[in-house]
Structure formats: structure tokens, C-alpha cells
Amino acid sequence: MPARNHKQWSAKPDLELGEWVDSRIYSDEEIFEEELDKLWKKSWIALCHESELPEPYDFRTGIIAREPVIMVRGPDNKVRAFLNVCPHRGMTIERRPSGSFAPAQPSGNPKHMTCLFHAWQFDMKGNCVDIPRQKEGYQDRLDKSSQGLRALRCEVKYGGFVWVCLDDHTEFNVETWAAGAMDCIKDSLDAEPLELIHYHKAIIDCNYKLWHDTNSEFYHDYMHYHNRITGFNDDYFQRECSAYDNGHVNVGTFTVNYEEYDVAEDRGTLSFPNLPPDNWYMVDMFPGLNFNLRGSVVRMDLMTPLSANQVMIEFRGFGLKSDSPEDRAHRIQHHNSIWGPLGRNLHEDLIGVAGQGTTMTPKSEPRRILHGRHEGAYIHDEIGMRHFYESWGKKMDRLPSDPEQKYKAGKVMGPEMPPAKGLSTFAGKGA
């Protein structure tokens, strides 16, 4: 067909329900606000890693669905989470991204969280322990014992990630929320303590789901010379995508041939415990978390949706706490060569979603976004996105392909078929 006119361009694609979505789900502000309430405030989010707050009184701040969150390690070594909000006048209690409450602050005592505005003080369990001139100001009408912080559900799970949920009444703990999706990497993550080795962030003018989509499909490996040259063999095309309850997906492993890339080194000897050498698992957790266990390093992407057309993505890398300095240097090198801010793959991925964001700004003309590849649930099958949007539709009670309509089930699974063969003759392999 030649280039299409408006009617042709806007027509439903020749695919089944569930195999495409309407671009308004990536750009509509009303839908975005609803997502914060129905998805982000109901989900378990891994906001940081315990190695970011290694000592008692350390803290780390984050955001879920616009709500400021603070995670603190108490003198009992337990990590707890609270809204980072003073119950007095709504001031942010701690303004820094991380630090320690052990030393005194200009407005407060050591070992306390202190709101600098009026010096209300809280302990590491969130108890309000001091209101200056409480008796004079409130007489017997209000007591500090009733003015604790807003506690949040918090668990340290799967290799030490700190998971927080804003919903007090969620029926899930982290494990039941994960619904088995993390099982493929949990033995590697839990084998011994992990330690953060990398952090940087991006703010991209695109909807958060576009980044999650990118992490959910490998068909875009055509964009990555690194992945084409080190993969695209028979084993690569046998990687299976598996769907789990609550919208999660994982992608099975294969052996990456790092030696095919001129400046890459083999990662076999440093591969994570309980992971075959140079193997690579990926887990996409609904609605916006991604774990990559790739040989010698773990990468975790945390999305913080800022608006319908803007997302902050924080990129973290992890090694083993027991690393020797030499091993640690190699892990950092392995991580950065593909995933650092100058890394070969990450930059390409971010160019991709930034380009999508450009075409899907709020109020722009709706268009069809296709998720209809069926390849037997193997690596280039777009089942990951179809499964995500099935869960999205149920939780939002909206039809992803026509978000003004109520949800109804579409097609997620395609026909069974054998995996494709390696594309050794692919023209771009050595381009």
C-alpha cells in the first residue's frame, strides 16, 4: 500500500484486539492521573537498594506517584519507609536525596529526623518525639504521641532491594506481588549481599510505559550493533518470554558471545552466583521496574512518571559486596560499556523512546501502536507488551486500543511455533 490518507491511517489495523494500543494511553493527562491512583499507588515499587543506606540512621528519599517517600535504617538495623512529610504544616522533612541522621542538623538533634521549619522531631520508627513548646501551644488538645509520620508498607526483598507500597490495604506482599516473575533471578540475587556500583538518571519526554515497552521486547535489538554481533544466534532466538500475574514478564536466558564485540571482554569468570557463565535474564515488573541480570552485573531501572509525556528513569548497577577491587573494576567496566551514560546500548534505547515521545505528545493525533508480533512467545514475540496491557486494561478498566471503552479481553498468546534460527546471514549483523 502506498502512503495512507487520514482515513486509512486512522483505520483499525488488520490485527486482533490486544495486538495494538491507542497512542492516547501514552499521552492523555486524564489517563495518566488515573494510572497514578490505580496502578502506581497500588503496586510494590523497589525504590532503592539496602546498600544505599548501609548504616543505622542512613536515609534515602524517593517518589511514588508524586508522593515523597523517605526510607531510613533504624538503630535496630531495620529499614522503614514513611511519607517524607511533616504532619505539622506539610513541609518536606528531608530535602537531600540521601544522607545520615546520625549527626546533628542546624534545626535538630543527632539521630532524629527533624523538620527544619518548626523543629518537630521524629525517631527512626516515625514516632514524633518532640514538638517545641507543645504544652504552651496546644495545651492538652494535641500530643506528640498522636503526631507520628505516615508509615508505608516496606519490605527488603530479592537481593536487598527496598520495596515500598503506598496502599496500606494491599492484598500482596512483595513475593505474592511478584507472582513468580523474580524466581528466575532470585537465587542469584540472594546468594550473597549485593552492593550498588552504578547510578545515573535520565529525564525523557516520553510516557513511562514506552520505556517499559522497550524493556519488554527484544525486537528492537536491530537498533543495537552490540547485541546483533554478540547474539542473534540459535540460542538467542530460543529465549522464551513468560507472563506472570499482575502484569509482570520475564525473558529466559542464553549465552552472550561477548568476544564477538571488539572492546568487550568475557564475563564468564565474574558471572553471578547460580548463573551459568555469560547468561542473561531479564524481568519486567509492572508497572515500571526492570531487572537485568547479565553475566557479571545486575541493572535495575526505576521509572518515576512525572507527567503523561515525561518520565525520570534511574539506572542502578550492582555487583557483589565481596568483590575484590580488581573484580569490582571489571564489573563496573562490564556495566558501563553497554549501560553507562556513555554505554553503547543505553543511549540507543533512549534515542528510541525519546523519538516515540516526540510523536505522542498530549492532544496529538491518536495513532495505532502495534504489539502484534507472534513468534511462539520467543524473544522477538511481543507477548511482553500484550500481557502488560492486558493487566493495565483490567486494573484501569479501560480498553488499551480504545481507552474510552471499558476493558475487554484481547489476544495475548499467539499460535505455538518453533523458535527462529540464528540470523547469521542478517545483512546488519556485521554492518
Binding site: P97, Y199, I203, I204, D262, N336, E348, I351, A354
Partner: protein, 165 residues
Amino acid sequence: MNVEEQHIKSLVRETIYAAAMFLDDQKWNDWIDQCDESFHYSVVTYSHEVRKDLTYLLMSHKEMHPYFDLLPKHNTDHSPLRRHASIYTVDVSEDGKTAEAVTSFIMTQEMIDGISAPLYSGENRLYLTGKYYDKFKIDGESVKFTERVARVYTRRFDKGTHWVF
């Protein structure tokens, strides 16, 4: 300061500014030619977010050619990065065979791709700030980099880049 030391300092300054121009112009081989075989390059930062020194790039001299030779095979944002460098200090060793320099730099990006090319193409954006901590080997009129540590004060890179700082 004697005349010889002044002369070496002048050579070091010229070398740093020439490197800035080579990097601005993506003349990677010319930059590599300025580096001794013992050269090591790194990009580091202190992250207030995680309270750690982090390394974003580490490269030895022998890795430089393959690194740059592979660039054309990758998809890269077209918006060039350029730097403004101000040399703060140059210290020459007593024997005149080595030197160290500290250079403050900022990098700007000439938007071409931009977020939306028709809208942002043509504008310049601050990309990062940092300091170069350079070490040199001096042999007569020859000044070669033996180490460059680019300490940046930026942890937010948005789309990122394939081009070194």
C-alpha cells in the same frame, strides 16, 4: 619560575587546548596521537544520590582505537558536544619530565535531533560541568598525556552519548 619551566607550562597548555579542539571536532585519532601508550582515561563522579564515587568510563590507550572505530556502527544522537575549557593550574616536576594540570570545563550540546528536531534544533544546552585532572610525559618539545581523569558533576544525562568527555 625559570624560562624552561615557563616553556613547558606553555606546551602543556597548548596540548590541553588542542585536545579540547580535537574532541570538539570528533578528531579521535588526533586526540589519541596526543596520548602516550601508557595513557589511561576515566570519567568519574561523586554521586550525592548514593554517596559514592562512581566510574562512568575507564579506558586504556590500547582500547581507544577500537572504541572509536566502532562508533560508526552504532546509532548516536547527532547533536555535537563541545567544551569550554579553562586551565586552572599547571605544575611541572623538578626534573621537567612530567607535569600535571587541572582544567575546569563545561560541555554544551548543539541540539540537532533534540526532543523534537523542528522545535529544538539550533539551540544549545548545558550538558555537563567538570574538571580534567591531566598528567603528562615531557620529552623535549613533546608533551603526551599519560592520564586524564574527567571528574564530572553531572549524574543526569538524559539520552546520554557515545562521545567521550
